[in-house]
């Protein structure tokens, strides 16, 4: 089992009103700090963590940077991003690319795609396959070996 963080639920805990949008740096900072606290106290191995964006209507570049990029910044965690819409991806992908970072995008069919800076993405895939966290499927795609 890998830790599973529902970003929308964290967002709701972080702001006073009902909110569907991950916007502004202060909001992103609060959400990231809550995620970091949750990962620090989990009994599961947080080296690979699933961050689920289901229920989030909009994420802006500032929040993408403050949450996704900064969680990846120290290199201790691999993020599997799930529930990501095309709109979410438009914010997350360039932020990762500009900072030379990469994460895994989990599609609805369970296949994985490396997202971010090309070199970092290729290196991430190699590391995960070598550590048997992910495996190459017969169809040439990538899948998690952990649930």
């Amino acid at each position: 089992m890998i830790p599973h963080i529902h970003v929308h639920a964290v967002l709701q805990e972080s702001v006073s009103e009902v909110c569907l949008d991950l916007v502004t740096r202060p909001t992103g900072r609060v959400v990231r700090e809550r995620i970091e606290r949750a990962l620090a106290t989990t009994s599961l191995d947080a080296a690979v963590t699933r961050i689920d964006f289901t229920g989030v209507r909009c994420i802006d570049y500032s929040c993408a940077d403050e949450i996704v990029a900064k969680l990846l910044d120290d290199g201790r965690v691999v993020l599997v991003l799930s529930g990501v819409s095309d709109g979410h991806r438009e914010a997350i992908e360039p932020v990762l690319a500009s900072r030379g970072l990469a994460a895994l995008l989990e599609r609805r069919d369970g296949e994985l795609e490396a997202l971010g800076a090309p070199e970092a993405a290729a290196a991430l895939v190699e590391v995960l396959v070598a550590r048997r966290v992910a495996t190459r499927t017969p169809g040439g795609t990538l899948a998690l070996t952990l649930a």
Binding site: D21, V23, T27, D60, Y61, P94, S98
Partner: protein, 303 residues
């Protein structure tokens, strides 16, 4: 002593220079009278720019606490539109208003996708983005033929433009979003985001981190170039500067335009359908920063 600042009859981003020149000529230390009685039309950019001038005039006035004067438009339709656009709600805090202002609420359903809204803190940005998405998504996709994907990008661009005020202006500002016919070049529908503040401006905000790098070239134009073209930020955090870079990417994809005026300079990323000037220097000084973002109806930009 009271000095007159005439509001252009057609008040948009182009005639703004005429307005800025009149504002600069009026100078500090006197009470200003902004005369909009003859106004026939104003874009969202004009409206939020007028509010920024009002705030700056209040701060720089003779007594400090004395509010500048504003004569409201006399044309009934113009007055009605300014009211529906939420202008007078914001203006009442800044100006001593003369003229009959109708008591109608800002529009809930119309081409005014977001009435003039103050932006002072991150919470205001949340409210702006949420309101825009609730009210405008259908209009953006149906009238402007924007892909649903583009509407989320639009919200992102709006969020980043507003955050620019919160993080850099050192004061509050205003945002307005409207859809209308862009007659100047396109003769098609566009949606416009206008953001203005009377804060410290880009040069002052970036000077501590960028001034030395530019040396003698440093000024309003260099600051705008650094922010919009090079994506630099006053913060040393490597993730900063993503906002304007993201807006640029979004506009490149949807053939949109951005123009930013700050101090004595104005920079624009000009799409093929427009003939704006990419960089202007030596303009009349005007406080803060004013941002204009235009997304055209899709499939309409061939001239």
């Amino acid at each position: 002593m009271t000095r007159l600042v005439e509001v252009p009859t057609h008040f948009d981003d182009r005639s703004f220079e005429q307005f800025a020149a009149a504002y600069a000529a009026a100078g500090d230390g006197t009470r200003l009278l902004f005369d909009a009685h003859a106004a026939e039309w104003a874009s969202p950019y004009g409206l939020v720019g007028l509010l920024a001038a009002g705030e700056a005039a209040q701060a720089g006035g003779a007594s400090g606490a004395e509010r500048p004067l504003l004569t409201a438009p006399t044309h009934t339709e113009v007055l009605s539109y300014w009211t529906r656009a939420g202008f007078f709600l914001a203006a009442a805090e800044l100006f001593e208003i003369h003229g009959k202002v109708p008591r109608v609420k800002p529009a809930s359903e119309s081409d005014v996708l977001l009435p003039v809204t103050p932006v002072r803190a991150a919470e205001d940005v949340h409210a702006v983005v949420s309101n825009l998405q609730q009210r405008a998504s259908a209009i953006l996709t149906s009238e402007l033929a924007l892909d649903p994907k583009a509407t989320m990008g639009f919200a992102m661009a709006l969020s980043e433009a507003c955050q620019n005020i919160v993080e850099h202006a050192g004061t509050g500002g205003w945002v307005a979003v409207q859809a209308y016919n862009w007659r100047r070049k396109l003769a098609r529908r566009v949606v416009v985001i206008a953001v203005a503040d009377a804060g410290v401006g880009f040069r002052h905000s970036l000077e501590p981190t960028q001034g030395k790098r530019f040396g003698a070239r440093w000024g309003d134009a260099a600051a705008l170039e650094a922010a919009l073209i090079q994506g630099v930020s006053r913060f040393r955090d490597p993730g900063r500067g993503q906002g304007l870079a993201g807006i640029r990417r979004y506009l490149a994809r949807w053939d949109g335009k951005i123009a930013i005026r700050s101090g004595t300079a104005r920079i624009a990323i000009v799409p093929k359908w427009d003939d704006d000037v990419p960089l202007q220097e030596g303009l009349s000084p005007f406080p803060g920063a004013q941002v204009l973002i235009i997304i055209p109806e899709q499939g309409s930009t061939t001239r």
